[in-house]
Symmetry: C2
Subunit: 218 residues, 2 copies
């Protein structure tokens, strides 16, 4: 399976699409919506073509097949959703809890968003058929975000402002806590969505406990 850039070629500005580029973008947009909404198996190329207002023939002119289109789309979505997470996790040396709260909030913005939940569910659903997408998901976002936090935690530990421990372990446990129990519930449609208040409470509880456990030893 070849993973190509799904949308417009690099270097083009939005305002100057050739006909071909515009069509390709329409296909990508339609495919993204339909794949995320219905998953791989229940999405049809006819539906995608119709929603993109192109002929199916044209879809095949741009993409060699359904597999390639799906892989391309999902990879693009992973990159898009997660690439900004680590970049938006701002440091503040003064306020450890505030910083970690910021990390948590940025991370949950993505994984608890309706689109994020659907993307995750889609990747899980197709994990057997497209196992590399799980890797993409982790390497695009989760690993960098967690590593970012780990580096920060290591620095705070070095300064004696957090209890000394393996920073990787501490970051892992922190992320377990901030993921919370609601994410599984959303995945399984046991709960419809998480309100901002619920997410704030989740972060509060997780952070309070984590800070308690990692307070500098007395």
């Amino acid at each position: 399976m070849i993973l190509n850039h799904p949308g417009c070629p690099i270097g083009n500005t939005v305002s100057k699409l050739t006909r071909s580029e515009a069509k390709r973008q329409a296909i990508v947009d339609a495919a993204r919506d339909i794949f995320i909404e219905k998953g791989y198996g229940e999405s049809s190329m006819d539906d995608i073509a119709n929603r993109a207002n192109v002929s199916k023939r044209t879809v095949y002119n741009h993409f060699p097949g359904k597999d390639a289109l799906f892989g391309s789309i999902i990879e693009g979505e992973c990159d898009k959703a997660m690439e900004s997470v680590a970049k938006r996790m701002a440091y503040c040396e003064e306020d450890i809890e505030g910083t970690l709260r910021e990390f948590a909030a940025r991370f949950l913005d993505i994984i608890y968003s309706p689109d994020g939940v659907k993307l995750f569910r889609t990747i899980v659903a197709e994990a057997d058929r497209f196992p590399e997408l799980g890797t993409v998901f982790f390497q695009a976002g989760v690993c960098p975000a967690q590593f970012h936090a780990q580096e920060y935690i290591a620095k705070m530990m070095d300064q004696g402002r957090l209890r000394k421990d393996d920073p990787e372990k501490a970051a892992t446990l922190l992320f377990c806590l901030i993921k919370g129990d609601m994410h599984y519930k959303l995945l399984l449609c046991f709960q419809e969505e998480a309100s901002p208040e619920e997410l704030t409470a989740l972060i509060d509880d997780a952070l309070e406990m984590w800070m308690r456990a990692y307070a500098p030893a007395s």
Copy 2:
């Protein structure tokens, strides 16, 4: 969708199946294997009939359709996998950490088992089409297991042997920790399986931190 008991009618012993009951059980066994292995969409009734060594006509004699068969199977699997978790979580008043470790191990036995991961992935994948299965999963196992731990934690808090807090919150956070980060990795095929050593380490880390955070206030 009618959720019926998929296997033999209640009251029968294994050694005395009628022909019809034996056939039904064969269908259930085959369907379970195939649905868990391939998910709903990629499983065919022809395959199920072949694997059960029955005619497809017979499958339809026992189950009204593919939907009903799937729902029935998955519900049965949830009950079977999870019903024993809470029951096998043994109490020990003397040793809090040992008790919680036992709870954790019993819980992880199920959700980290290859079959457990596959079951979970299947339910996630079909969450849109069969949203009630997520509810079954949570109500059959996760909620009782967590509630069991919560009751124990409440008792220990009352005795002043754990730091006073909302027992439900404490149990929730504990379960977030013991679920660990590996479960998502298994779901996404980012990791193939979790070794017993990895699970032990996971429990150790989680418990150590949780106990630290919930040590009685000095």
